[in-house]
């Protein structure tokens, strides 16, 4: 009987702890820049959804591609129609894990650098990526800031020859994600 009680108590503890382990994305900004001196191609997206488990380090991110907002509406149309093909590929996704999660102390407030490894799926093509993120934690919130580069060719996004000089070969991505504890 004693063992059964302790088992139940452990189970309850696990459930309680796991609820606090899960963090939900509170606010986010993703910016990409694919411009060259000739053309300023840059867009923002604030409509991402993501969950993070700080116990296991697991992270899933889903980005609605149609929500990238450009300064020029025609660029946005071209992005959706010709490059990202958002009707065919509505979402970009990332599924991965934070490396060495055991050694990360989420209670500390000093910025730390972590590495997130996983699969990034853009334009229907999944690529293994390892992304450096700077973490800042304060008052229950976890904020991650990252900058990285994605070559368009990795995701089979073709640049038409006539526009080659206008669109960069490599897209610079910067992202700021703020997570809060997930409450049902």
């Amino acid at each position: 009987m004693k063992t059964l009680y302790s088992f139940v108590i452990i189970c309850v503890c696990v459930l309680v702890v796991s609820a606090q382990d899960i963090y939900k994305l509170k606010s986010s900004k993703i910016n990409f820049f694919a411009g060259t001196p000739l053309e300023d191609i840059d867009a923002n997206n604030t409509k991402t959804t993501s969950f993070l488990n700080i116990k296991t380090g697991e992270i899933t991110i889903s980005i609605p591609n149609k929500e990238f907002v450009f300064k020029r509406s025609l660029m946005q149309e071209h992005f959706n129609e010709n490059y990202m093909e958002t009707a065919k590929y509505p979402k970009s996704e990332f599924k991965g894990k934070i490396k060495d999660i055991e050694s990360i102390d989420f209670t500390k407030t000093e910025p730390i650098t972590i590495v997130v490894e996983g699969m990034l799926t853009v334009h229907g093509i999944a690529k293994e990526r390892s992304i450096e993120v700077t973490l800042k934690n304060n008052a229950q919130l976890i904020e991650g800031v990252s900058k990285f580069v994605i070559p368009l060719s990795d995701h089979n996004i073709n640049r038409p020859q006539i526009l080659w000089e206008k669109i960069a070969e490599n897209v610079q991505v910067s992202a700021t994600f703020t997570y809060e504890p997930y409450k049902k």
Binding site: T49, S62, K66
Partner: protein, 293 residues
């Protein structure tokens, strides 16, 4: 604990699913241009975008070498279109035919969407007016005195379009045109026409287009025909080139619907080359894009 951890793997995915709200995706870019060929498409310039458009219709192709494919009898319309809001656009144009000035407003009432509360079609309405500014010829047989009002034309159009997948778009356009003055007794002042247009996208930047307006013969009068146009669109960055063959030399509604005087199927004496060329300029940049970061 191991069990607890193992269950997280599914957890995040199921949480993502639970969080995803019913989404509505707007279907955009039903047509590449604001015109299918001669007439309006449901598309307008985006908010804050100015579009400059050159339209040319050459002469008939019956003496291609002598007339240089009809270029010697080219008619032109130069137009400016501007997107005031996301759904409202206005435009002004000047045609060589009748030295006509035309003005229009186009408003998108519905936008096709899929997903949550899907809308099957995109619907726009167009109200247009045109004025003939050609100098009056003295006509001793004229039994009335012509006033400025006699030179006005009005058009109302309902445009209903649907994009079937990525490659096929179809549009129907019931149209009413009122002409304050017509030349012949057998022409109706008000004509009702039904247009059908479409686009087949072959690659990301190349599409075939077609457009036809049917107006009953008894309204058009003798010697006037329904306009048919077949062509293709080429898109390069901020430009759209539309090249086509058609039997009309008009580029505003009361010209190509009401006053096309050759039959497409007469062959080379009626069919002519035409092209539309547009360039867009972003006058006001999207605020959303600016402030989001």
């Amino acid at each position: 604990m191991v069990l607890g951890v193992a269950s997280h793997a599914q957890n995040l995915d199921s949480l993502m699913q639970a969080e995803s709200k019913p989404e509505k995706t707007l279907i955009t870019a039903t047509f590449k241009g604001t015109k299918i060929v001669n007439g309006h498409s449901v598309e307008s310039p985006s908010k804050g975008v100015l579009q400059l458009m050159f339209l040319h219709r050459f002469g008939p192709l019956n003496e291609p070498l002598y007339d240089f494919l009809g270029m010697d009898q080219a008619t032109i319309r130069i137009g400016l279109d501007y997107g005031i809001t996301k759904n409202l656009a206005v435009g002004v144009g000047r045609s060589t035919l009748q030295k006509a000035y035309d003005f229009y407003a186009k408003y998108r009432i519905l936008t096709q969407s899929k997903g949550y509360r899907a809308v099957p079609v995109t619907v726009s309405i167009v109200a247009a007016t045109a004025v003939n500014t050609e100098k009056k010829q003295f006509d001793p047989l004229l039994t009335y005195s012509e006033t400025g009002l006699h030179r006005l034309y009005y058009t109302a159009q309902l445009l209903v379009a649907r994009k079937f997948g990525e490659s096929l778009s179809i549009q129907i356009m019931p149209t009413a045109i009122h002409r304050n003055l017509v030349d012949n007794l057998d022409q109706s002042n008000t004509i009702y026409s039904l247009g059908v247009g479409g686009r087949v996208k072959l690659t990301k930047r190349f599409a075939l287009t077609g457009e036809y307006y049917f107006t009953p013969e008894n309204q058009l009068g003798k010697g006037f025909y329904n306009p048919l146009a077949l062509g293709f669109d080429i898109e390069t960055g901020g430009h759209v080139f539309q090249i086509h063959v058609t039997n009309t030399s008009g580029m505003i509604e009361h010209h190509f619907i009401g006053a096309t005087n050759t039959d497409f199927f007469d062959g080379s004496t009626s069919v002519r080359l035409g092209f539309n060329f547009s360039r867009v300029f972003t006058i006001v940049r999207s605020d959303k894009g600016k402030n989001a970061w």
